[in-house]
């Protein structure tokens, strides 16, 4: 992943919910180049948080692995 994509990804991790700010910051520290994260970042904050917290399975099947990684941080 090039610098530009990485920077854009980083900024998309700036959220309205502090919960997500912190989880995504931890995530990027471990997986700085994981652009598989992108489609999840387009979700509304509360929907994404429900997924991260394991309260919702409402995401596209091909995102299963990235969701699992996200839940593990």
């Amino acid at each position: 992943m090039d610098r530009l994509q990485r920077e854009k990804l980083k900024w998309k991790c700036r959220r309205g919910l502090l919960e997500l700010d912190i989880v995504l910051e931890r995530y990027l520290a471990r997986h700085p180049d994981d652009h598989a994260l992108n489609p999840l970042l387009d979700l509304p904050d509360n929907d994404l948080w429900d997924i991260v917290a394991g309260r919702s399975e409402n995401y596209q099947p091909h995102l299963k692995d990235v969701v699992a990684r996200l839940r593990a941080v």
Partner: protein
């Protein structure tokens, strides 16, 4: 090279609830409106609001705007402007019903009316023990629902969004000080340009990130306050910062009051339920400022928990997994993830955490920014408006009541929109001329960053600032701490002049953005601690160890802080409402 210039009727900086409500009013009047936001609009911090929005609809209990007004004045510890408070409470029903008609999915009663629930500080019959059911909510996602509703409406009304654009500085007319636009950085290209308008509305939200322990998202860096301060505009009542008693230690995530409502309680390192000593009746359910102060006292006196004796414990395992899982949804996941503690078995480490900034850019109830000039303390600054958490109108005074902020966003967002329309329609000439040096200040800030080949790291300076504010200007304020804190913040401000970033790329440079944000954090922190040191009384969120009482004789007045030389001025509180009798200051007991 001259900066490129784009012209609009109105610019709104900020796409949270307040900015989007203002923009909607303007776009519906067919004005050409630009809304700037650092992040995608529906990712603004308003999305985090869960508790609800206050309005005396009287759907579940008897209620009216007079009672709501009384609660807000009392909650403000009598520092709120009573005309603005009357205005807000009188327009509450109208703006909430409008949101309903726009499609905001409020919870409903069987009758189809909006369901309302009680919330701390909101009472019936002028402070009687009976609670008012005044908070309208959309499940636990009220802010989210509001933001999405307003965004859709704005798209429909043709509001033009500039997403991932960061406003940097105000541009003022040297003749009369009128605001004629902003400079802004387009992150995608790294270019700075000028956005010029007949009206500029600030709606940039709060500055909770000046404290180490904060419930606010990372974007809340007080940009609007920094821009105003650098442009010579004073900031009002910045010493008043509301702390929420139960933020998770180290992370800041808010643990709702509902946990204590269900029977959770706080313990010190001796396992003592210390709130019984501070508030024998209400105990752990005493008001936010009372509980936060008690917690801070416990820590100061060495009864904090953990190896650093720096937090307290919120115990709820005695409630059993049933109650925790069903009545307090989400709490368990949050505690496990951010505190590494499963509340079913062990207590959650918590500290009082910075939550809401009552102060801000001084405005009238019309959203117009007002500043002292000559003999008048509130002269209208032409074509500049501020709404939402970045503004101080002042309806929250020294302490905000829960659910009154979302109301403030929509009432004053709408009011500012109405005023802008009126003002633009009465303007003699279309656009003013830009001053020759327009944009120079922003360019100089960027040039300094680009030129530095060594210097201070943004993260280090930011962390030192947050730690200093937490230690020296937290919930309970001591004179020596404040004085030393000011010196430290001054040192940090000097270091912030020497920032160094490794990445000098223009295109999408987040390090650059964070460096620019730090300038705003520094201005906001300075305003807060200097104002706090000078106010020699305790009122609402300001608790001075050396002046424990409210002092209406000397301090029933608003603070104004100027960046230049850290100068302070004061102006009277509006004790006279618009149409009703004034509420006379009384001791604030619950």
């Amino acid at each position: 090279m001259a900066l490129s210039v784009r012209k609009f009727d109105a610019i709104v900086v900020g796409a949270g609830g307040s900015g989007m409500r203002a923009a909607l009013e303007l776009a519906r009047a067919n004005l050409k409106v630009a809304v700037l936001s650092k992040v995608f609009p529906t990712r603004s911090h308003t999305v985090a609001a869960q508790g609800g929005i206050a309005a005396p609809l009287a759907n579940s209990t008897e209620d009216n705007w007079h009672w709501h007004m009384y609660d807000t004045v009392k909650g403000s510890d009598y520092l709120g402007d009573q005309d603005a408070i009357e205005y807000m409470c009188r327009r509450a029903i109208e703006v909430v019903v409008e949101l309903e008609h726009m499609g905001m999915p409020f919870d409903r009663l069987e009758s189809g009316k909006i369901y309302q629930r009680p919330f701390g500080g909101h009472t019936q019959d002028y402070g009687s023990p009976k609670m008012a059911m005044r908070s309208c909510a959309a499940a636990d996602r009220t802010g989210h629902a509001m933001l999405h509703t307003l965004y859709q409406q704005n798209v429909r009304a043709n509001t033009q969004f500039f997403v991932e654009w960061m406003a940097l500085d105000l541009i003022r007319d040297p003749q009369d000080g009128a605001v004629i636009g902003v400079t802004a950085l387009e992150m995608e290209t790294g270019e700075v340009s000028i956005l010029q308008a007949k009206a500029t509305v600030f709606a940039t939200g709060g500055s909770g990130r000046i404290f180490a322990a904060s419930t606010n998202a990372f974007i809340n860096t007080g940009d609007g306050l920094g821009m105003a301060a650098r442009a010579g505009i004073p900031l009002e009542d910045m010493e008043f910062f509301q702390f929420h008693p139960t933020g998770i230690q180290g992370a800041g995530i808010l643990i709702t009051e509902g946990v204590r409502g269900e029977g959770g309680y706080l313990l010190n390192k001796n396992g003592e339920r210390f709130m019984e000593r501070y508030a024998p009746n209400a105990k752990d359910l005493a008001s936010r400022d009372v509980v936060s102060r008690a917690m801070t006292t416990e820590i100061k006196e060495g009864r904090g928990c953990g190896p650093d004796a720096d937090h307290l414990l919120l115990k709820l395992d005695h409630l059993g997994p049933e109650v925790i899982n069903h009545r307090l949804p989400g709490i368990r996941e949050i505690a496990i993830r951010f505190a590494n503690a499963d509340p079913v078995r062990e207590p959650i480490p918590v500290v009082p955490t910075a939550h809401y900034q009552m102060g801000g850019i001084p405005t009238k109830y019309t959203g117009q920014v007002v500043v002292p000039e000559g003999a008048t303390s509130e002269s209208i600054l032409p074509s500049f408006y501020a709404v939402g958490e970045c503004a101080c109108v002042s309806v929250h005074g020294a302490n905000r009541l829960g659910t009154n902020s979302l109301l403030d966003l929509v009432v004053f967002g709408k009011a500012a929109g109405e005023q802008v329309i009126k003002d633009i329609r009465s303007l003699p000439s279309p656009q003013r001329n830009l001053p020759k040096d327009a944009g120079e200040a922003s360019r100089a800030r960027l040039a300094r960053l680009d030129a530095a080949s060594s210097g201070e790291r943004v993260a280090d300076v930011g962390n030192d600032l947050r730690r200093t504010m937490q230690a020296h200007c937290g919930i309970f304020r001591f004179p020596e701490d404040l004085a030393r804190g000011i010196e430290k913040v001054k040192e940090i401000a000097a270091r912030a002049q020497r920032l160094f970033i490794q990445d000098k790329s223009k295109v999408f440079n987040t390090a650059r953005v964070e460096a620019l944000e730090l300038d705003n954090l520094v201005e906001t922190a300075m305003a807060t601690i200097v104002s706090a040191e000078a106010r020699k009384e305790s009122r609402g969120a300001q608790s001075r160890a050396d002046f424990p009482e409210r002092d209406d004789k000397n301090w029933m007045r608003h603070t104004l802080w100027y960046k230049e030389a850290n100068r302070l001025a004061y102006k009277p509180v509006h004790l006279k409402p618009m149409t009703v009798e004034a509420f006379q200051p009384k001791a604030r007991t619950y």
